[in-house]
């Protein structure tokens, strides 16, 4: 034996090789397909928006930890990186750069650091940044560049409405779904991501791929995404069956807007989602219901962000009331 002292510590003496850093970087990997699609659809501007968001998130986290809180610098843990990417994915690709920076500041400083940093925030930081921008700059935040193939220009991008906006406005002015269907991209285009909208939310296939990767790697469980999608499908399905001319079908609801991005990447954020499986089910149902209510009856065409943030607020309550069943608490087995 060498001169190093023997270590005495309590059991267990072995540890799983998974670390929170690895979990975070798995999420980053899962976001790559959606990012590639956004590059294809929006060109270089997608790269610019994402880089600005990521860099400003990392810089703000660094500055706050170094000069304001004077704590350990943890920017390499991957959490600020994810916040940056997710924030970018929730923005139009032609948003002015300074707005992206403001959004990042709100996400990191207000939504994360002021609550105590990683693990202590109640609301999803990227969504807080996004919603802050949406409320503060509604015009710029809803000017979507339409999908133009090989579009490399940033400023001259043609802007137009998202499928959900077309439907919402159309229905308000008395058009029927049959008329509106011709105005929105086909289901195939929605599935592949050839449509207008936020940077990372368009391509269903890329998001599903990323989501499956996370489930296979056991970073997230299937509960939240599946239950949330089923809830949305059921409620919009009921509306659609009652009056197919006044309501979009469930497939359009799921494929367009932020549902898939929300279901796989935003609602499943480890920090801000419930910690028990029962709780996750309640949480996902809540998000589904609120999303449909906002889409159907609210002023905004899209409601996923708000739905997730509202349910985030309920997570501590859900964690308190939906506990795992304690072993031996109720004796099911008969005693002979």
């Amino acid at each position: 034996m060498n001169n190093q002292p023997i270590i005495i510590s309590a059991s267990p003496h072995v540890h799983s090789s998974r670390t929170s850093k690895k979990l975070m970087y798995d999420v980053v990997i899962a976001l790559i397909p959606a990012f590639l699609v956004s590059l294809y659809v929006f060109g270089i501007s997608a790269l610019i928006v994402t880089s600005i968001a990521v860099i400003s998130c990392l810089v703000f986290e660094f500055l706050i930890q170094k000069y304001l809180l004077k704590t350990e610098i943890t920017i390499s843990d991957g959490s600020a990186l994810i916040t940056g990417i997710l924030l970018a994915f929730n923005l139009p690709s032609n948003l002015p750069i300074w707005m992206i920076i403001v959004g990042s500041l709100v996400a990191i400083a207000v939504a994360k650091s002021s609550f105590g940093g990683l693990g202590f925030n109640i609301f999803n930081p990227a969504l807080v940044g996004r919603v802050f921008l949406l409320i503060s700059f509604p015009v710029q935040m809803t000017m979507w560049p339409t999908a133009v193939e090989n579009n490399t220009a940033i400023a001259d991008a043609v802007t137009g409405a998202t499928p959900l906006e077309i439907i919402k406005e159309g229905l308000m002015y008395g058009e029927t779904m049959t008329e509106l269907t011709s105005k929105i991209p086909s289901n195939i285009d929605l599935f592949l991501g050839i449509t207008g909208g936020s940077l990372g939310e368009m391509s269903a296939i890329a998001l599903i791929l990323g989501g499956l990767f996370l489930i296979i790697r056991k970073v997230i469980t299937w509960h939240i995404p599946t239950i949330m999608l089923i809830t949305i499908a059921i409620i919009t399905g009921i509306f659609w069956l009652v009056n197919p001319e006044k309501n979009a079908n469930p497939l359009i609801h799921i494929l367009s807007g932020g549902v898939l991005l929300g279901a796989f990447f935003m609602a499943t954020d480890l920090v801000t989602s419930p910690m028990t499986k029962k709780g996750m089910v309640i949480f996902a149902i809540g998000i589904g219901v609120i999303t449909v209510v906002i889409r159907k009856f609210g002023a905004y065409p899209e409601g996923v962000s708000f739905a997730i943030l509202i349910m985030n607020a309920f997570v501590p309550l859900i964690n308190t009331y939906f506990k795992p069943r304690r072993f031996g608490s109720k004796i099911k087995s008969k005693i002979v």
Binding site: I6, S9, A10, S11, P12, F327, I335
Partner: protein, 442 residues
């Protein structure tokens, strides 16, 4: 479908390096250090004096109460000291030090004794032998066996479960015993069937010991009372409550015992010790110990006399590797780190694990990211992150209400935590404080 328990559990690397190595006899130790509290319960009372000559198997400390056990001399020799020495718990405990007399070791060469199938004793005599010969649970908890077997009249027991799960990584003591002493174990089971009037027996073995499963199946083909069940490889499958749930779908109530659902669980090692005590009047003076570690030169399984210092075992496997940083008494999930190799083997020592530099140190604890992994893996349905927080904030009453006392300390939560939080350490601390508060109140 392999049987298992429904909620929680983990699957650490098995690392059963020694599973193909036959149990060797460790040479007689020069000196043995026998602690007088090797079991759960009241320490035994020393009945020998310094300089007294003792023979092998002689009682040297007698049971100190009902939940206690006799302790016998593992060797023939002379008592040289009665002293307080550090044992595997890390505390100084009263020990009887005996210098071996190499000339006189005639009795109890049990390992080579022929199989004795005929049960000659009566029920009460069997229980008396188990009490007298210091049999305790050899699975690790070292609960005196006679207490477990003394069933009150109002309890009805219909199942005896034999625990051959050995879910701790690295350890293979039970595995080897099941391969080499299977027939004796069957006789041991028959002894208990006879003494307790139970005719439904299940031997539960984890599926990574297929040869042991096959072996028992072969031996019990004509016996419709003993069943052999293969269990899914999942830690902590060997925990009593989880095992009963897996095999019989019966759930031991909170703070209850398997007895409450009509089941008695015994480890295979204990069954073998009972066989020896009943058939050969042999007290519990030796047991199988696995000495292992990734860098250990010649990891092995040994028959070891109780009281042998760990040093002797380490020497036998080729000494401590250069970069040893941790020595564990037991397995990696629940074993205790020991300070040096002077610590003696006790009735509860199932293995000695040597861990080298790269795996010895814990990583720094980071913020909880609320991923819920600890909740998913807890086999008892607890919320380790919450219990740790409550203990940290000294909210013991709240922790008590969140069932902190039902924690079985399996360590799955600490194992899985991606932020390396010391969950189990805080839970243990909380439990000890609550225990103290409760005794203070009474």
């Amino acid at each position: 479908m392999l049987k298992t328990f429904p909620k929680g559990g983990i699957h650490p690397h098995e690392n059963k390096i020694t599973s193909a190595k036959a149990i060797k006899k460790l040479p007689l130790p020069k000196t043995v250090y026998v602690p007088i509290s090797q079991h759960i319960g009241i320490p035994s009372e020393i009945i020998v004096e310094r300089k007294e000559k003792v023979s092998i198997g002689q009682v040297i400390a007698k049971s100190g109460g009902y939940v206690s056990s006799n302790i016998h001399s593992p060797v023939a020799g002379t008592v040289t000291k009665l002293d307080k020495l550090i044992d595997s718990s890390g505390y100084k405990k009263q020990c009887i030090v005996i210098r071996t007399d190499f000339k006189d070791q005639s009795n109890f060469e049990i390992i080579d004794t022929p199989l004795q199938t005929e049960i000659k004793l009566s029920e009460t005599e069997i229980l008396q032998h188990i009490t007298d010969y210091g049999i305790v649970g050899l699975g690790g908890a070292t609960f005196p066996s006679h207490v477990k077997l003394n069933i009150k009249k109002d309890k009805i027991i219909d199942y005896l479960i034999i625990n051959g799960v050995e879910c701790e990584p690295y350890l293979t003591a039970d595995h080897r015993l099941m391969l080499e002493k299977a027939e004796e174990i069957i006789v041991g089971i028959e002894i208990l069937m006879f003494a307790l009037h139970i005719d439904k027996i299940i031997i539960g073995i984890e599926n990574n010991k297929k040869n042991a499963i096959d072996n028992f199946k072969k031996l019990t083909t004509n016996n419709n009372k003993i069943k052999v069940a293969a269990l899914k490889i999942k830690y902590p499958q060997g925990s009593e409550k989880q095992l009963v749930k897996s095999l019989l779908k019966r759930e031991v109530p909170k703070n209850g015992l398997p007895l409450d659902v009509g089941v008695i669980v015994h480890n295979v090692g204990t069954i073998f010790a009972i066989y020896e005590a009943v058939q050969y009047n042999k007290p519990l003076i030796e047991r199988v110990v696995t000495v292992t570690g990734k860098k250990v030169k010649n990891p092995s399984n040994f028959w070891v006399k109780i009281g042998t210092p760990v040093k002797d075992l380490i020497d036998e496997v080729g000494g401590l590797p250069e970069d040893t940083r941790k020595i564990i008494n037991g397995g990696p999930m629940m074993g205790k780190a020991i300070k040096n190799t002077d610590v003696p083997i006790t009735k509860g020592t199932s293995g000695i694990l040597v861990i080298s530099e790269d795996e010895a140190e814990r990583k720094r604890s980071k913020n909880c990211i609320r991923c819920g992994q600890c909740v998913f893996v807890c086999p008892m349905g607890l919320e380790p992150h919450l219990l740790m927080n409550l203990t940290e904030k000294r909210m013991y009453e709240k922790a008590f209400n969140e069932d902190i006392m039902t924690c079985i300390e399996c360590g799955s939560c600490s194992y899985v935590c991606p932020s390396h939080r010391p969950l189990l350490d805080y839970i243990r601390f909380g439990k000890s404080i609550i225990k103290k508060l409760e005794t203070d109140k009474n």
